[in-house]
Symmetry: C2
């Protein structure tokens, strides 16, 4: 039964992500996490080095999943535009179905320091580079909006989700993803032709 350990760790990480998302990393105490996870205060230290390793592991696992998922989602695209659209839809639906972890990833980006912070920043660079490439390809040399500006604007409208979106509300994650993809491609102006998707 070596699963026991991993299960307990997963449970702790899940509880921690939930509390971090609600109260914020710095206002969350180890005693909060103890209460939420059902473990004793000292018991948690059997699974984790300390509070910051908890945050790091949540962010690292979540970000890795996002990147892996994005690569796989995008791989099916036939055109640059479709690649971009699939990237957006993956990011948004992943976000909507992992709100707590994604909020912790987005909102607590500056809460880590040292090597752990750098490791997460490396993942971020990788992910940003991925989108930047797609934006450049779609723009294809045309000068209009700077690729960096466009990429960060897109991340902004996608990551801001955690401040207002309710997955249980009227807008399904898929519908939300579609609207953001369309908005980024064509703006609020209603598209003349909705291209299959």
């Amino acid at each position: 039964m070596k699963l026991k350990y991993d299960d307990r760790l997963d449970h702790l990480l899940q509880s921690a992500a939930s509390v971090f998302a609600t109260k914020g990393y710095h206002s969350t105490t180890m005693r909060d996490l103890s209460r939420e996870s059902g473990m004793s205060l000292s018991g948690m230290y059997y699974y984790v080095e300390g509070k910051d390793e908890l945050l790091f592991t949540i962010q690292e696992r979540c970000f890795s999943a996002v990147i892996t998922g994005a690569r796989s989602a995008v791989s099916l695209a036939l055109t640059p535009r479709e690649r971009l659209e699939l990237f957006i839809r993956h990011h948004v639906t992943f976000f909507a179905s992992h709100m707590e972890e994604m909020k912790v990833l987005s909102h607590e980006a500056e809460s880590l320091a040292g090597p752990r912070r750098e490791q997460i920043d490396d993942l971020k660079r990788e992910y940003v580079e991925m989108l930047l490439g797609m934006v450049r390809t779609v723009q294809d040399g045309s000068i209009g909006i700077n690729a960096h500006v466009a990429a960060y604007a897109l991340f902004g409208m996608m990551n801001w989700i955690y401040t207002w979106y309710d997955p249980e509300g009227p807008e399904t994650p898929d519908a939300l993803a579609n609207q953001l993809a369309q908005l980024f491609a064509y703006g609020i102006t209603p598209t003349p032709v909705t291209h299959g998707g």
Copy 2:
């Protein structure tokens, strides 16, 4: 010399905004603020009730300035589209020229509690309602992107600025504002006609 008091308070608020923006509200200690402002630890309490009043006042002043500025910027518009464009340009340029306060406003939205939190939330509702109205008017009954989704997506791409934009960098605040306005209106696809600005 009654200006002395107001000047000292402004100085304290400015220092606090700077430190809050850099370290985050909860990781900032009153001793940090004492060091940055040059006042003594206990001396600050002559000007302010406590740490949370400091955050509240920063947010309240900043948000009020944003709303007032937006109203005035928008009042010159001739068409709904121009209203929206002026709103965006005002928000982005204000953001870029008050990065510290705006970061504190955007990033520490959940750091207050109780009546103070509610008062800031009231301002937020007012501001969101303002944009929502403009979006609806521009859309003019067309069904495409939900107005709420569009409005929050726009706030997302504008407020995300604090995570990546460097006002001293190659992109001037005005240029950034133009690009975001264009992006929201027409998407990444280069516009057939760039309308004045």
